[in-house]
Symmetry: C2
Subunit: 343 residues, 2 copies
DNA sequence: ATGAAAGCGCTAACAG
DNA sequence: CTGTTAGCGCTTTCAT
């Protein structure tokens, strides 16, 4: 069933049918209803490709996932973000087009995306401290929104981000208030912008109390269980071991927990852990015997929604003035086991 | 830059240029080279929408992600699977179109996909024991491939799956060989087909040794840390507690581990854990003091590749005869801490 | 080996 | 308010 035959059946011109279906005002309500009903009955849906060609709009948003080794897509955050964005796309009639590209041909991927014209804009994941994608997209003139920020860029772009710095500053202060003086930071990969900001938060809290920053207490790398384990194992052998671990991921925290046990120490008596949790889980804060979450999966999903909404607005309005949304991480203390608190 | 202007620049007709670029045999090699070079120089890429409209092929594969509550997309497996499939799509020139739909309007989503014609086929994730999507797709006549199987369907479809039954049978036998007689199974959601098969494997191993199956030792639900914890906590209070836990996910295993410790028991002395690990991590098998993995992320990615390849072949050849690929899970014993063994 | 012309299904000026 | 006429950029008969 296509426009032409539907129009024929109705004894109308394709134009009128198109106008009726697309809500143009110059169609009589009677006709519109008649057309709508016929379309419904015939289960008519306009052919996407034809529509796209005619309007010049792809009605699709691109997500380019560089797949160098394995990080990024691995991230549980990714799935939730996608879910949030996808919700918005579906409502607005956009397709979500995901492209997996080997790290090194990323530039080509973006260029092709534009010249092949199959997306109207792109959403950028996991920006680095210095991120060349920004310059590329500026050159291509393609609308984009970042999930996260780029510290090292002065390009004016739109972004949605969690206040990572503040979250880690608060978590660090929490531990300092409990009396901890040697606090280890088990962080994500250093060149990732979010990791940089988290570190800045940790450092800011220490500086505010005139405490020295010991680089040895800071570990940066992929946030795996093994990372947390190895770091804890190692540090707890030192003559002046940390009394607390602040970790950037639940997996790392679980690893640290294992490392602590292997060292024959007791969580909550000898050592504490506080974690930033993007995942679903539970971890005891050794001091309070209660879990702490600093961000939840539901807020990541919300970030996805906001990014998508921002991008769509930018595309549809043509207004490219940069807009920002900074979300505060939720800091929860005193939840007992159970589902993650939703905000 | 489009076909017309490129042709004009070359002093050729659009037809010839199109033929040259698309590898039609009736073009002289000299012309073809000239055209190729000009296209390269001009950074010409045919407009996707136009091509699609003209050929009637969307050059896109759909992935529909139902987002009822939260499971499925949560799954770390999902990301790796997508990565694998995406690789293949990219090479074959297909787009990956992901649609997030609320659980209840899934049927409509599929129907629209077809009538809007923006995908040539779909890939089905996380099938249930009885899955109505199969019937829907058969009705629509759209090519599809399943990642997983559907026990309750006699529809003849193509699938790629891991041998979940065998994996769990082997893991159970491993524990039985170590002398365990009360083995708890912490499984995924019962209506998921993969969970059903895992359970069957566990049961088969017990039956083969004429052992009774105690339903109380089987827990099915979302594979979270809390699930493992709560199950272990509960069971270890019984007069005849399990001496081993077989879990379907690393998170559940970590939870069980916590439950064991809270009960004042010692991993590897009092209780053992073996886990099926789709994720990245490390877990001690309490008996051997070594980790065990029954599947790895790299094999999930491989499954993604195979699914995609199968679907593309089906689409391009028009041959819809069902094809199957059953992958054996890797069972690894004796790895020390470190990266996940890749196959 | 190359080109002219028609058409994929839709939208959008431009009439009336 | 409705219809006619051109395209959107490409592929694909059908000629030559």
């Amino acid at each position: 069933m296509n426009l032409k035959t539907l129009a024929l059946e109705l004894g109308l011109s394709p134009t009128t049918v198109s106008r009726a279906l697309n809500g143009y005002p110059e169609v009589s309500e009677a006709t519109r209803r008649r057309v709508r009903e016929a379309a419904e009955a015939a289960n008519y849906h306009p052919n996407t490709q034809a529509k796209r060609l005619a309007t010049g709009r792809a009605m699709a948003i691109g997500h380019i996932i560089p797949i160098s080794d394995r990080h990024e897509i691995v991230n549980p955050v990714f799935a939730d973000f996608i879910a949030g964005a996808g919700e918005v796309y579906a409502r607005a009639g956009y397709d979500m087009v995901m492209t997996i590209v080997p790290d090194d041909s990323e530039a080509r991927a973006y260029a092709e995306l534009r010249s092949k014209g199959n997306v109207d804009g792109v959403l950028i994941h996991a920006p680095k401290v210095e991120d060349h994608r920004i310059a590329m997209l500026d050159t291509l003139g393609m609308p984009y929104v970042l999930h996260g920020r780029v510290s090292g860029s002065d390009s004016a772009f739109s972004w949605v981000d969690v206040n990572n710095k503040r979250a880690f500053e608060r978590a660090t202060n929490f531990l300092l208030d409990l009396g901890h003086r040697r606090i280890a930071l088990i962080n994500g990969i250093g060149e990732m912008d979010f990791a940089r900001r988290r570190r800045r938060g940790y450092e800011a809290a220490l500086k505010a109390r005139d405490m020295a920053i010991d680089p040895a207490l800071i570990v940066e790398g992929e946030m795996t269980e093994a990372q947390g384990h190895d770091a804890a194992r190692e540090m707890l052998r030192w003559p002046d071991p940390p009394t607390a671990f602040l970790t950037a991921s639940l997996l790392s925290a679980m690893g640290a927990r294992r490392g602590i046990e292997e060292a024959g120490l007791v969580m909550g008596r000898d050592v504490s852990i506080v974690t930033h949790d993007d995942e679903l889980g539970y971890l005891k804060n050794g001091t309070a015997e209660e879990p702490i979450f600093t961000a939840t999966r539901s807020s990541v999903r919300e970030a996805g929604r906001r990014c998508a909404a921002l991008l769509i607005e930018q595309i549809e309005s043509g207004d490219r003035s940069p807009r920002h949304e900074l979300m505060e991480a939720v800091l929860v203390v005193g939840q007992s086991t159970g589902p993650v608190p939703t905000q």
